[in-house]
């Protein structure tokens, strides 16, 4: 499986007297099978727009998107999305939220409960199966959202700042968990974050984006998540000289961008 984005531009049409917004311009990106692509960039540079494009919620103004050679024409079960917030269904309990995708796909109750329970356990939510989701903490809700996307067993996992709401400790644990699952399942991932450290640690490929018009300005291949997977502890990976050097490089790019905006 591979996803190809070829010369894609997105222009939001003018509305309410505002001029049209060139949200993305001339994006070229390939997400190969098993690749973990992280997008980083100032607010408003078009990261969510790019994710919505891949998910099929938006069509490109020009250019083309193909998944395994076929044009992407709408959302589908092969690309599951984890949102930053507001996406759980409060009338369902944790178990039914996690099993929601399987239910939509017509999987029988017993089978989907079993699968859902596996992922609930994997994300450390055991014992909360019957809790209403609106009574969970923000971090737990986020984990329900991740579990829900994973149970669908999508080929591509699209995550829009999935860990933004978590405290530092939970966040690091969640990062490791996502990497573990990614390693075991070999899924392709597109992951948006605002944290440079998170981006460097998790991705195999990093794209740095700039606003007005939204475009990819830098690309890096990253070795760190592979290092973590082959047994190096996360803290050690993040403390290595290469990691720190690259972190400074990327931070400089982003600060330069933000200053150019002001």
């Amino acid at each position: 499986m591979s996803l190809n984005i070829d010369h894609v531009s997105v222009i939001y049409p003018a509305a309410d007297g505002r001029p049209p917004v060139a949200a993305l311009s001339e994006i070229d990106l390939t997400i190969a099978e098993g690749e973990f692509v992280v997008a980083l960039g100032a607010s408003g540079c078009g990261k969510s727009t790019l994710l919505n494009l891949i998910a099929g919620f938006l069509s490109p103004t020009t250019g083309s998107l193909t998944l395994e050679g076929r044009a992407v024409s709408g959302p589908g079960a092969d690309r599951a999305v984890v949102f930053q917030k507001h996406a759980l269904l409060p009338w369902l309990n944790v178990l039914d939220n996690v099993a929601f995708g399987l239910m939509l796909q017509g999987v029988g109750k017993e089978a989907r409960t079993r699968t859902a329970n596996d992922y609930i356990g994997l994300l450390g939510l055991d014992g909360f199966q019957n809790s209403p989701v609106y009574k969970l903490s923000g971090g737990m809700q986020q984990r329900v959202g991740i579990a829900r996307a994973l149970t669908c067993d999508p080929k591509v996992l699209l995550m829009d700042e999935p860990l933004g709401a978590l405290d530092a400790l939970t966040r690091e644990k969640a990062q490791e968990l996502i990497l573990k699952i990614w390693g075991e399942t070999g899924k392709s991932v597109f992951f948006i974050t605002h944290s440079v450290e998170e981006a460097l640690f998790m991705g195999t490929k990093l794209i740095v984006m700039s606003p007005r018009p939204g475009r990819i300005t830098h690309r890096f291949d990253l070795p760190f998540s592979r290092q973590f997977q082959s047994g190096t502890p996360a803290r050690k990976v993040k403390a290595s000289p290469e990691f720190i050097a690259l972190r400074e490089t990327v931070l400089n790019i982003i600060f330069a961008d933000e200053e150019a905006l002001e």
Binding site: G76, A77, A80, H86, L89, P90, W91, M103, R148
Partner: protein, 294 residues
């Protein structure tokens, strides 16, 4: 750039810490288990009981002191006595409970009809621009007209039997129910809808599993509002050639200046409507405990 020092609070307010103004401008501290700043939270039950008792007392006092003639405001005792009398002997040769049941039947059959037609129509109008385009003008046109204004038309078109009565009540609750269901469609967050599609949902599944459940709170509110309109229209509906019903009872009693029957009838209507409202609130707590929480 240099920072100017922050403006100082007036020394006096700082000195006596909890000044009246400071206290009024802040939300009240919470009791354990409450969340700070939630608008209007707190239990009102006993205050409401007290409010009712005070009103009853004032009513009794005004009549007991003879401040108004019984023709205008009969005493609580005489209204109660009238109630007992009508309960035992009926009103205009019809047992009391039959008046109650015929009115309840009229309101509820209209209510069920309004829900059966109004809820699907409202949902369809929320989902489809075609439906909205077609049905928006007629509904918005008739909605602000008071039922009394089109009552004569109902009579000319549908005669003076049950049909026109039920139809009049139906029309009074139809518009609010349609509009509630229609705006309920907008309750689902776009993220919830997108998530469902990204798990492979069909349009129909999104409607059934995301849009409909998230519209439930607004639908229940619309039903509550709707049945309220129904009870207010009951008396108007029973102005026409009715020989039974609570509205009829009130109207014909007023013609004979039996003020105590009028007041009693009003109380009975209010109590039935209130009991139903309590039932709806109970249902709301059971069906949508998540309302406003995510």
């Amino acid at each position: 750039m240099t920072l100017s020092p922050p403006p100082k609070a007036p020394a006096k307010a700082a000195a006596n810490g909890a000044g009246i103004r400071a206290r009024l401008s802040r939300a009240r501290a919470t009791k354990p288990g409450e969340i700070y700043g939630v608008p209007g939270q707190g239990n009102t039950f006993w205050l409401s009981v007290a409010s009712v008792l005070v009103m009853l007392f004032v009513w009794w006092l005004v009549t007991a002191l003879g401040l108004v003639k019984p023709l205008f405001v009969p005493s609580p005792q005489s209204v109660l006595a009238k109630f007992v009398q009508i309960w035992n002997q009926g009103f205009t040769n019809t047992p009391f409970l039959e008046h109650v049941s015929i009115s309840t039947f009229r309101v509820f059959s209209a209510f069920i009809l309004a829900c059966l037609i109004g809820l699907p129509l409202g949902l369809a109008m929320g989902m489809s621009p075609v439906m909205r385009g077609i049905f928006d003008p007629p509904i918005e046109f008739y909605r602000p007209i008071p039922p009394l204004a089109y009552l004569p038309l109902m009579i000319i078109w549908f005669g003076i039997d049950e049909t026109s009565k039920v139809l009049l009540i139906f029309l009074s609750m139809f518009a609010p129910i349609v509009l509630g269901a229609r705006s309920g469609v907008k309750s689902a967050a776009i993220e919830q809808i997108h998530a469902a599609y990204s798990f492979g949902a069909t349009r129909w599944q999104v409607m059934r599993h995301v849009i409909l459940p998230s519209a439930m709170p607004e639908i229940l509110t619309a039903m509550r509002v709707g049945i309220g309109f129904g009870w207010t229209t009951l008396v108007a509906a029973e102005m026409v050639a009715a020989t039974k019903g609570l509205g009829y009872m009130v109207l014909s009693a007023s013609q004979f200046l039996q003020t105590s029957v009028v007041i009693m009838g009003i109380f009975v209507i209010a109590i039935i409507a209130f009991a139903f409202d309590l039932l709806m609130r109970f249902l709301e707590r059971r069906l949508v405990p998540w309302k406003g929480r995510m």
